[in-house]
Amino acid sequence: MSRLNRRDFLKAVTLAAPALALHAPWAHADGKSRVLVVGGGFGGAVAAKYLKMLAPQLDVTLVERNRVYVSCPLSNEVISGHGEIKDLEAGYDGLQKRGVNVVFDEATAIDAAKRTVTLKSGTTLAYDALVLSPGIDFNYAGVEGYTEELANGDLPHAYKAGPQTLVLKKQLEAMPDGGTFIITVPPGPFRCPPGPYERASQVAAYLRGHGKTKSKVLILDANDSFSKKGLFEQAWKTHYGSMIEWVPGASDGKVVKIDPGTKTAYTNFGEHKADVLNVIPPHHAGSIARNAGLTNEKGWCTVDMLTMESSVQKDIWVVGDACTHGDLPVYPMPKSAHAAVTQAKVAVGAILARLAGQPAPTPYFVNTCYSIAAPDWGFSVVHVYRVEGGKLIYAQEAGGISAIETPALTTLRKLEAGYALGWLKNIMADSFA
C-alpha cells in the first residue's frame, strides 16, 4: 500500500465506524475511539503524534504535568558547558497543531475496570486504550540521608533534566582545583545505562578544559560493570589520565548513606568526602503505574513483548523507562529515549489493530544510544530485535558497541560525537514536532 492509499484507507475506516459500533464495544456514539496518553516525554509524545498521524480521526488526549519538556539525553553536556539547556527543550504546540488534545495536568489514578484516569484537578477522563509513559520516579529512601528536598536544593541528582542540571553545573564550576566530584550510581536497572559514566566524562572534560587538573572524579557504583565500559575506559585513559576513578560494587562501591552537611558518601565499609556530591538514587516506574498495580516486585511494569500491552491489565500499553521490556535470554531493552520511541510506535500499531479488531502487526524494536566522552569523542551502542516463532529475539549478529581498536579511531569518534547531536534534533522532532 502506498502512503496515499493508506491514508484513504484510514479515512475509510473512520467512515465505517458506525458499522463497527455494532460489534465493537470501544466505539462510541460519535464514532470516535478515545486514546489517552499519560506522560509527555519521548514515549508519550511520539505515541500521541503517531496515533494522530496514522489515524487522524482518533480522539487522542495527552496528559502532561509540565508545559516544557527537557530532554535528558545530552543534558550531561549542559553540566560541562558543551551544550545549552534551551536546545534540549520542547513544547507541546507541535502536537496540538496535529490535533492532539493536550491537557496540562497530573494523572493521579487509573481505574482499569472502568477505563478511566483521574487528574489532580478532579477531572476524570475515559479511554478505550491507554498509553502509559510515566517514566521513572526516585526511591530516595534507597540512600539513607538523601531526600527529595535535598535533591531540589544543595544536592541535585540531575537525573531528570531541568533546574537541577543547572545547579549541578554551577557546583562544578565553583569546585576548586584539587576537589573531588563524586557520582553515586544506584543498582540497575536505571534509566540511561551509560548516563553516570558519560556524566563523569563530561565533568572531567570541564575540569581539564579549565585547568583544574588536580581534581578527581570518583564514581561509586552499586554495580560491577556498566554500559560501554571498554569504550569509556579507553576514552578516560586517552583524555583524562587517572582523573576518573570507578569503584565497582564488589570493591565496596555501593553508597548506602550520605551526610548532606559534610557531603560525605558512606559505603558499607568506607567513607568518601566530596566537594560536589551527585547522588543518583534508585529508580522505579512512575508512581502512577505502581499505584495502579501495574508493577512487579522490582517496581517495573511488565508488558507483552510484541505489543507493549501491560501483562497485568488489558487495554493499557506501557512504554518507555517505566516498563521492563525483554528479559534474559532476550537482551532487555535499555531505558533510553530511542527505545521509548520505538516501543511507542509498536504500541501505536497494536492499539490501531485492536481498535480495528485485527491482530497486532509485526513489531520492530531498535535502540541506538550515543555517548560523548570528550569533545569530538563519541560512541554508541546499538540493539536490534526481531520476532522469530512468535517470540522477541535479540539479533545477536547485529548491534553491539562501536569499535574499540581501529586504525580510524579519531575519525570514528568524531563522526559519532557529531551524530549524537543530529540524533537529538531528529528524535525531538520525531516526538514533538
Partner: protein, 188 residues
C-alpha cells in the same frame, strides 16, 4: 485502493489493517528516530534519506551489512535486517521527495566552497543535483553530515572503497572540506 473497496475489505474482516501495518512503513518508521519523519532530517549531522536514488540506498545498506563499507553506526543496525527488508526500505525512501534543507551557512565559506569544486563537479555538478541513478543528490543536504562524510574519504585509515571520492577528498584541506560541504548544502 479506493475508499469503497477499503470499506468492503474492512467490513469483510480480511485483515487489511494488519496487512497495512505489517507493511514496510512500520519498519521505516524506526528510521525516523535518527533520519527525521519520513526520512527528511532536521538534524544537521544526520543525512536526509528521503528521495535518495534507490540503487544508491540499496548498495550502501547492503555494503554496510556485509561490512565491505565502513560505517560508524549503520552497519551494526543493518546486520539485523534481511536483504529483502533492506531492498524494501530502499524502495520506500527512494519514493519520497528529496527536500533540500535551508541552513544557516557562512557566506564566505560557501564562496570558498564554490572555488574548491574542481574535484567534485564531475559527479555532483556545481548544483549538487543527481547526475545518474547512483549518485546521491547533495543539494541542500545537511552541511554537518556532508563534512563528516567527507572525513571518511579524507582519512586513509578509514579505507573507503570509492577511489574517486578518496582521491578527491584526500587532496582537500580541512577548511576546504567544510567549504565544499557548505557550498553544496547551500544549493536548492
Amino acid at each position: 485502493m479506493g475508499i469503497r473497496v477499503a470499506i468492503v475489505a474492512f467490513l469483510a474482516g480480511l485483515g487489511t489493517w494488519a496487512h497495512a501495518a505489517d507493511s514496510i512503513e512500520a519498519l521505516a518508521n524506526t528510521c525516523n528516530n535518527c533520519h527525521g519523519v519520513n526520512g527528511v532530517s532536521v538534524g544537521p549531522t544526520m543525512p536526509s534519506i528521503a528521495g535518495l536514488p534507490q540503487a544508491y540506498l540499496t548498495n550502501v545498506m547492503l555494503e554496510w551489512k556485509s561490512g565491505t563499507r565502513f560505517s560508524a553506526t549503520m552497519g551494526r543496525l543493518l546486520k539485523g535486517y534481511s536483504d529483502v527488508q533492506i531492498a524494501d526500505l530502499a524502495a520506500h525512501f527512494a519514493k519520497q521527495r528529496w527536500v533540500p534543507q535551508a541552513q544557516k551557512l557562512d557566506e564566505a565559506r560557501v564562496r570558498l566552497g564554490a572555488q574548491s569544486l574542481k574535484r567534485c563537479e564531475k559527479c555532483h555538478g556545481n548544483d549538487g543535483l543527481p547526475r545518474d541513478g547512483e549518485t546521491p543528490p547533495v543539494n541542500g543536504q545537511w552541511a554537518g553530515y556532508l563534512y563528516l562524510e567527507s572525513l571518511k574519504y579524507h582519512d586513509e585509515a578509514v579505507g573507503m572503497s570509492n577511489r574517486q571520492m578518496r582521491g578527491a577528498m584526500k587532496r582537500l584541506r580541512d577548511e576546504d572540506l567544510r567549504a565544499v560541504a557548505d557550498y553544496y548544502a547551500s544549493q536548492k
